[in-house]
């Protein structure tokens, strides 16, 4: 079974999605249950990845290799290491609440909705598990299509503008990456990511390749100043779309930096680390301030995502500054540990917050903060979850949100007091925008008759938020198991990223 576990995880959801498409909307109950079973099956099947994971080495595990396009030496090659495996489990996990959350909410073409999410799940697993760059690129681009449809079909009033912006931004970034991949293929003779990592490249070559990767990944993360597509896409996307977008798709950017930029272009990364650190800190400080002024709940969480993802890029690129400042690589592993944990944690927390907003939106059909107030009076159980996730979003110790930020801040101090200083600003701004949101939406007296008529969580919503709450607290109280599976790969990555190719 281990022989083709990754393939099953990719193609089973896609096949289930295709089946649902064929069945159509004739029997919605069957569609829903089929989608749920497929999502749960994918989650269960992804667990052996974790339990069977060998933490002693950094080699690719659960490998599969079949010829794909022999003419171009492109292989259907899959495998996972400590960076991709947790992200795959996050993907299969987050699809489940998305399916459950849509249960009675999506009335327009439910079959196609579920199919889009299942197909996207398979493609996203493909992105994280591909060890062949062309295969990676295939999944990377294919993934855009279902998301494009999800926003475009089930989105809000300005969905056309948002989808176009989303698609153009991300597509524009990716084509340059394709050019870089082809260039390296010509030099290396095949598309294996491992060959690219071993490929000697001059500084000039590295700069160009780094720039191409940067365009692709920075848009996805998103980094300032190529972030403006994200708030628009989130605002227009349906709840499930926002959850997947925030929880998984943004991680593709972080994953790309770790998988491609650092090991393939280490010298260019070192040369441009100041730019990357500056952009990351701008994301933390500038975007934190912008988030403060948002009137739309989803926009606020979208901006908060950008600020939190700033810690991922900061952790990734500060390793060069650490070495430059101290002459030692001590602390580099911690920075990358922090970046990885931040990715997982942000997936859980931002997904949870978008689900919370979805709960409110389903009832009142408004995302405006001003339309709410005093929700706790009528939805006390919901309020508990919302406050918990909000506190997690502020990086409260004991929740997953703390772990990554703490590790990145204390590692960054090695590079410079001021980097740590600006990164730590998030303690204040993050608390300000998140808890101000909570104050205006959750607390206070009931502000309108529409709020007074709100009903508390139904069992379905309770299960969705409950399972996320358990994980958010679980990772916060005991992050060691998560770090244990990541660290051998991260140690290896530190070696690759700090070894000069010149």
């Amino acid at each position: 079974m281990h022989c083709c576990l990754l393939s099953i995880l990719i193609w089973m959801p896609i096949a289930a999605g295709a089946l649902i498409l064929l069945l159509g909307d004739a029997r919605p109950a069957v569609t829903r249950w089929l989608a749920l079973i497929a999502a749960l099956a994918a989650l269960v099947l992804s667990l052996p990845l974790w339990s069977g994971f060998d933490v002693t080495g950094a080699a690719m595990q659960f490998p599969e290799k079949l010829p794909w396009i022999p003419r171009f030496s492109a292989w259907y090659a899959l495998g996972v290491d400590g960076i991709s495996m947790p992200l795959i489990v996050l993907t299969t996990f987050m699809t489940v609440p998305v399916v459950i959350a849509a249960w009675t909410v999506i009335e327009k073409r439910p079959a196609q909705y579920y199919a889009a999410f299942l197909i996207m799940e398979g493609l996203m697993v493909g992105v994280f598990s591909a060890t062949d760059a062309l295969l990676f690129y295939f999944f990377w681009e294919a993934m855009l299509i279902p998301m494009f449809l999800i926003i475009g079909v089930w989105g809000g009033p300005r969905r056309v503008y948002a989808t176009l912006k989303f698609f153009l931004y991300t597509f524009l970034g990716s084509v340059f990456m394709l050019v870089a991949l082809i260039y390296m293929y010509v030099k290396a003779g095949d598309y294996a990511i491992a060959s690219f990592q071993a490929l000697p490249l001059s500084l000039a070559e590295q700069r160009w390749i780094f720039a191409a990767f940067f365009l692709a990944f920075a848009v996805k993360v998103p980094m300032w100043p190529v972030h403006t597509w994200l708030p628009d896409a989130h605002v227009e996307a349906p709840t499930g779309g926002s959850v997947i977008l925030a929880a998984i798709m943004l991680k593709m950017g972080g994953y790309g930096f770790l998988r491609f930029s650092l090991p393939i272009t280490p010298d260019a990364s070192r040369e441009l680390d100041l730019v990357m650190i500056a952009l990351s800190l701008i994301a933390v400080v500038y975007i934190g301030l912008v988030a403060l002024m948002q009137q739309d709940m989803k926009k606020l969480i979208a901006y908060s995502s950008i600020a939190h993802m700033g810690f991922v890029t900061l952790g990734a690129f500060v390793i060069y500054a650490i070495v430059a400042a101290t002459g030692s690589r001590v602390g580099a592993g911690m920075a990358l540990d922090g970046a990885m944990v931040q990715m997982i944690s942000h997936g859980l927390i931002s997904g949870s917050l978008f689900l919370c907003v979805g709960v409110l939106y389903d009832r009142l059909h408004s995302r405006q903060i001003a339309d709410y107030g005093g929700v706790v009076n009528v939805m006390p159980v919901f309020a508990v979850f919302m406050v918990l996730f909000a506190l997690a979003n502020t990086g409260l110790p004991g929740t997953s949100g703390f772990v990554g930020e703490f590790l990145v801040i204390i590692a960054t101090f090695r590079a410079s007091f001021w980097y740590a200083f600006f990164a730590a600003v998030t303690l204040v701004t993050g608390a300000a925008y998140t808890l101000w949101l909570v104050k205006r939406v959750v607390f206070g007296p009931v502000t309108s008759p529409r709020v007074a008529a709100l009903k508390d969580l139904n069992p379905r919503e309770f299960v969705v938020l409950g399972m996320l709450a358990v994980l958010v607290i679980g990772v916060g109280v005991w992050p060691a198991p998560l770090l244990r599976v990541m660290q051998p790969t991260i140690r290896h990555l530190v070696t690759l990223a700090l070894a000069s190719k010149l």
Binding site: M293, L396, L427, L435, Q487
Partner: protein
């Protein structure tokens, strides 16, 4: 020491909090208060046992790991306990005051719809505070630090329908986060130099860090340990409400009175004091940091005390008193008299919790009234509350033989002997602060319990203003004594408020009670290890010292102005109009924060959003690029207009250019 026993101490309140919080609906109100009170009582008993073992049982300190939170880059981050005498003392104080507050809450919150939620929160608080004081490393310290902050946030906003309460709790959290911002940088600095988060490693490295210089700008560097200590102290300033991060504490009085006693007087706000004392092996190596501690503490002690003199809300007067007393403790730290600081922390925990709970009892008795101008003469109606409140007040102003006398005198004495930069200023602040303390304390006492009965004409005003809502909608309007469940904790706190100082002054202050837990260098160390003196002799000596006479003067002034002839107070207020305006407006700190800092932040956020994101990035870059492409398209479209003569013209031009190029290069 038995590790299981130590683990049980924080876990019992946590379990009780979870049971009361998650199963409140099923176990009911009685179930919720039973389970939490029992758990905290057990934690208190175990804490006293631990203290007994350490002090009289000859058991050595405990240091050990419970579990490994994570290991990153060789830095192990554990959850673990360090239980020495300092910790054990804190544990005993925390659990004892918490137990009193738990019992008191049964009466105070009797009719509140959030009854079970409240018990869940205060038990959770007890857990968090225990994790903070019992920690053996910075990670767990920060966990407890933030966790008590969150519970405080939840409790200040406990009555979430009140706009003022949810404003106050957000403010409290944010101001604390400013402190935590410094704190986390301090921790990062420790990790930078020691590659560890454990206290013993950090303490051992202190002399080395004292030599190190940290690059600050491109060409300058600063002494590393001083920077680290100042960062850590910024955290303490937030938690222990020192100027200018004190602004949240008076507003925190929006929370129910039991938590004002527990969190905002006795325990959480002293976390900063505890932390600096715990970090004494670091602070001792930085005179600059200690001078800052001294000056900040002295400023808080004197100037915040002054605010208590003009306030009319009984809880807020006590809150300003708390600020001032926290300033005293901070001054002690700055003068390297850590033992005296912790000693005052302990005595203050008892008498200040007592004063708050007595104020709560008054508020119940007055049917939600907090304005002292509508009280007076209550001693007749609430004798137990009045007597216990008097005891608390006498302890607070430092009456000889009462607990506060020993601790406050020790601080004043330590500052007097200190030669640290800023000690002169600090000495005058703490000395004059004694007069101020007595003045506001007895003003409060006289306005509440003595003099004319002003509550009858005030009854119809009771609907306006912010009042503690405890649900006691009594039908008779006469004030009345509170039920036993309320006054028993008052008595339980009154006893240590009187006795604890005299009983413990010799070992704690002049002996070697803290052993290795507190570290001092040089002259101060000699002072701490002074000769064994009797409590009575100290009290007799105190009668001849200036603090006693200053306190007496304060009491007399309060009597003259607020009991004998209140018209004098009005006249003085008119005469000192400018000062009074300054004090009533709390030195304009709130005004500055709201109209300058908050307003500027919001303006900056708006500018970055509307100007940066919408105009520059989306308008110019994104849509501008799209427009540029479209204009380029229109321009090139003009070239392909389908007219033959146009194509022929461009062909000829092209041919000419090509020929020219050839000829030039031929």
């Amino acid at each position: 020491m038995n590790p299981t026993e130590l683990i049980a101490i924080p876990l019992l309140p946590l379990a009780a909090a979870l049971i009361a919080g998650l199963c409140g609906r099923w176990i009911g109100r009685a179930g919720a208060h039973s389970v939490t009170c029992l758990a905290v009582a057990a934690a208190c008993a175990l804490s006293l046992h631990v203290l007994w073992q350490l002090v009289w049982g000859g058991v050595p300190s405990f240091e050990g790991t419970v579990y490994t939170w994570l290991v990153s880059d060789g830095v192990g981050m554990q959850v673990g306990f360090l239980v020495d005498r300092l910790t054990a003392l804190m544990m005993a104080v925390v659990t004892f005051v918490s137990l009193c507050v738990h019992i008191y809450t049964i009466g105070y919150m009797r009719d509140d719809p959030g009854y079970t939620r409240f018990f869940s929160y205060i038990s959770l608080f007890t857990f968090s505070m225990l994790m903070l004081v019992m920690s053996n490393n910075f990670m767990q310290l920060f966990f407890g630090w933030e966790a008590v902050g969150v519970v405080s946030y939840l409790l200040i906003g406990f009555w979430y329908q009140r706009e003022s309460a949810i404003f106050a709790n957000l403010k409290a959290f944010l101001v604390n986060r400013v402190g935590d911002f410094g704190f986390v940088l301090g921790i990062a600095g420790i990790v930078y130099y020691t590659h560890s988060l454990d206290y013993p490693v950090a303490f051992a490295a202190a002399p080395r860090m004292a030599q190190a210089m940290l690059p600050f700008t491109a060409h300058t560097s600063v002494p590393a340990l001083t920077l680290i200590c100042i960062c850590l102290f910024v955290g303490a300033m937030g938690k222990s409400a020192q100027v200018p991060l004190h602004v949240w504490l008076p507003d925190s009085m929006e929370g129910p009175t039991p938590i004002s006693a527990l969190i905002h007087a006795a325990t959480m706000v002293t976390a900063g004091i505890f932390m600096v004392a715990r970090m004494s092996p670091l602070f001792e190596y930085s005179d600059t940091a200690l001078s800052l501690v001294l000056v900040i503490g002295a400023t808080t002690a004197f100037f915040m005390g002054l605010l208590g003199v003009v306030n009319n809300d009984i809880k807020r007067v006590i809150a300003y008193s708390t600020l001032s007393q926290l300033g005293y403790m901070t001054v002690a730290l700055g003068a390297s008299a850590y033992g005296a600081g912790i000693f005052h922390l302990m005595t203050h925990a008892f008498f200040k919790a007592l004063l708050f709970l007595a104020a709560g009892s008054v508020i119940i008795g007055m049917h939600h009234e907090q304005d002292m101008r509508r009280m007076g003469g209550l001693a007749k109606y609430m004798p137990i509350t009045a007597v216990t409140c008097w005891i608390g007040a006498l302890a607070l102003i430092g009456t000889p033989l009462f607990s506060g006398f020993y601790s406050k005198d020790a601080i004043i004495e330590a500052v007097h002997e200190s030669h640290r930069y800023g000690a002169g200023y600090a000495y005058w602040c703490v000395l004059l602060g004694v007069f101020i303390t007595a003045l506001y304390t007895f003003r409060m006492l006289f306005m509440t319990f003595h003099g004319a009965e002003r509550f009858r004409q005030a009854q119809h005003h009771a609907a306006d203003g912010a009042h503690d809502r405890h649900g006691d909608h009594g039908h008779e309007h006469e004030p009345h004594e509170s039920p036993a469940v309320v006054w028993v904790p008052l008595v339980a706190l009154a006893i240590p408020s009187v006795l604890i100082g005299a009983l413990t002054v010799a070992p704690v202050l002049h002996g070697t009670f803290f052993g290795g837990a507190i570290f001092t260098r040089g002259a101060q160390a000699a002072h701490a290890a002074g000769e064994g003196v009797s409590a009575v002799r100290l009290a007799l000596e105190g009668l001849a010292a200036p603090p006693f006479w200053l306190a007496l003067a304060g009491v007399v002034t309060a009597w003259l102005f607020f009991l004998r002839s209140p018209s004098l107070a009005d006249a003085a207020g008119r005469r000192l109009h400018a000062l009074r305006t300054l004090l009533v407006n709390k030195y304009y700190f709130d005004w500055f924060n709201e109209h300058v800092i908050a307003a500027l932040t919001r303006a900056l956020g708006t500018v970055l959003w509307k100007g940066g994101d919408q105009v520059l990035i989306d308008g110019v870059l994104v849509n501008g690029t799209a427009q540029a492409v479209s204009r380029l398209g229109s321009a090139t479209r003009r070239l392909q207009n389908g007219y033959l003569y146009s194509y022929a013209f461009w062909m000829m031009i092209g041919l000419a250019v090509l020929l020219g190029w050839f000829l030039a290069h031929a």
